[in-house]
Structure formats: C-alpha cells, structure tokens
C-alpha cells in the first residue's frame, strides 16, 4: 500500500507569510498532486507533477506554486498566505488513474 505522508497535520500562519507544505510518497510514483478540500466544494486540483521538475497547473493554481526536486517529494508553496487560503490541503500520488492520499494538512491563515 502506498504511504503518502504530509509534514504537518495542523498549521497556523499569518497573512503575508510564506508557507511550505511538504508531501512524501514511498512507492516511486511518477504522478503527484495537491488538492484543497473545502466544505460544499469537494476536492479541487491546485497543481500536479508527472515527473521530477515537471509541473502542471490544475483548476485553481492562483496564489500557489510547487516544487518537485526529487521523485518522492512534492512541495506546495503559498508565496504570501491570505485568509482565503485557509483550507484542508491533500497531497496524493498515483501510478494509474486512481489516487492514494495523504492525511491532509489543515492550514489556518489569520
């Protein structure tokens, strides 16, 4: 079973701070994803990566960037956090059409 881990379960940051969310998977998957999960909106794709140093914008990339320097690690960066980025952030990886998800990071921006 794929193990996807995220660096923090809970994070509280202030408006304007730079925020890093880290994700690591241990199954050598090419594809990795960042979603945000909001009540009533489901899961929305922020960015994904299909190979090291490769990235693609998802449906809601504004205000976010990503980094994939190693195959197992995919980082989500909020350059200047804002209150509307308060959310649950889910990382996932896959080698086929499904996804294996991490436990999530609940980010609160004050």
């Amino acid at each position: 079973d794929v193990k996807v881990t995220q660096s923090s379960r809970y994070l509280v940051k202030r408006t304007g701070e730079k925020v890093f969310l880290e994700c690591v998977q241990d199954m050598d998957h090419e594809n990795m994803f960042w979603y945000r999960q909001d009540p009533g909106l489901g899961l929305r794709l922020i960015y994904f990566s299909y190979d090291v140093k490769m990235k693609e914008k998802g449906d809601i990339p504004e205000g976010y960037s990503v980094s994939r320097e190693k195959k197992e690690r995919f980082s989500l960066i909020l350059e200047s956090a804002s209150t509307n980025q308060t959310s649950m952030y889910l990382c996932a990886s896959s080698s086929d059409r499904g996804r294996s998800f991490g436990p999530g990071t609940r980010l609160t921006v004050l």
């Binding site: 594809n31 994803f33 979603y35 999960q37 009533g40 909106l41 489901g42 899961l43 929305r44 794709l45 994904f48 299909y50 490769m54 693609e56 889910l90 059409r97 499904g98 996804r99 294996s100 998800f101 991490g102 436990p103 999530g104």
Partner: protein, 115 residues
C-alpha cells in the same frame, strides 16, 4: 471537459435501511469512475472503482453509460458507514506537457446512518 455531479450534500438514513448515493458524470471519452470515502478524522481512501466490479464493505456501484451515472448502493446501512463520500471521474486531458489522466471529484455527500 469533465464534470461530476453529486446532487445530495447530505443524506440521512436509519440503520438497516437501503442507501443510494447518486453520482452523474459528463465526459465525452471513455471514463473510469471511482468512489472515495472519508471517515471522521481519517484520510480519504478509495472505496471502489468501476473496472473492479467488486463489492466493498457491502457497497456496489454500476456504471450506466446510457444514463451517465455511477450510483453507490448498499442494501442495509450500518452506523459505521457514516462518512463523506466522493464520486470521481478519471479522463484523459491535454496539458501543456502532454496528455495525462485528470481525476475530477464531485462535491461530496455526507452520509449519516442513525441508530
């Protein structure tokens, strides 16, 4: 474009009653459909996928291409089935770097099974 619709945000049933969570999709190609479940304070996990044609925890889902539906059913709900359920569709999309499978989620249905 891919779209997944779950018409019910909330669904409440009594233990032992049948339950059906509705899912409709829109996609012009050949989709793969999934149901994911998230129990309280647990990570999102795959419940079943249509190509497996399995029954997981008593749940089944049949892909109906004519009605573009993938409803999740269980004949006798249990209290431990209470959770958030997401329907998802995987379809091929073109991105700047080539083609890749995108997984589009519905907005979710919160199922509550009452004792």
């Amino acid at each position: 474009a891919q779209r997944v619709t779950q018409p019910e945000k909330l669904l409440s049933v009594f233990k032992g009653a049948p339950v059906e969570l509705k899912c409709n999709y829109s996609y012009s190609g050949s989709p793969e459909l999934f149901w994911y479940v998230q129990y309280s304070r647990q990570r999102l996990q795959l419940l079943l996928r249509h190509i497996s044609r399995e029954s997981i925890k008593g749940f089944t889902a049949d892909l109906n291409k004519g009605e573009t539906s993938f409803h999740l059913k269980k004949p006798f709900a249990q209290e431990e089935d209470s959770a958030m359920y997401y329907c998802a569709l995987s379809g091929l999309e073109l991105w700047s770097g080539g083609s890749n499978y995108k997984l589009t989620f519905g907005k979710g249905t919160l199922l509550t099974v009452n004792p």
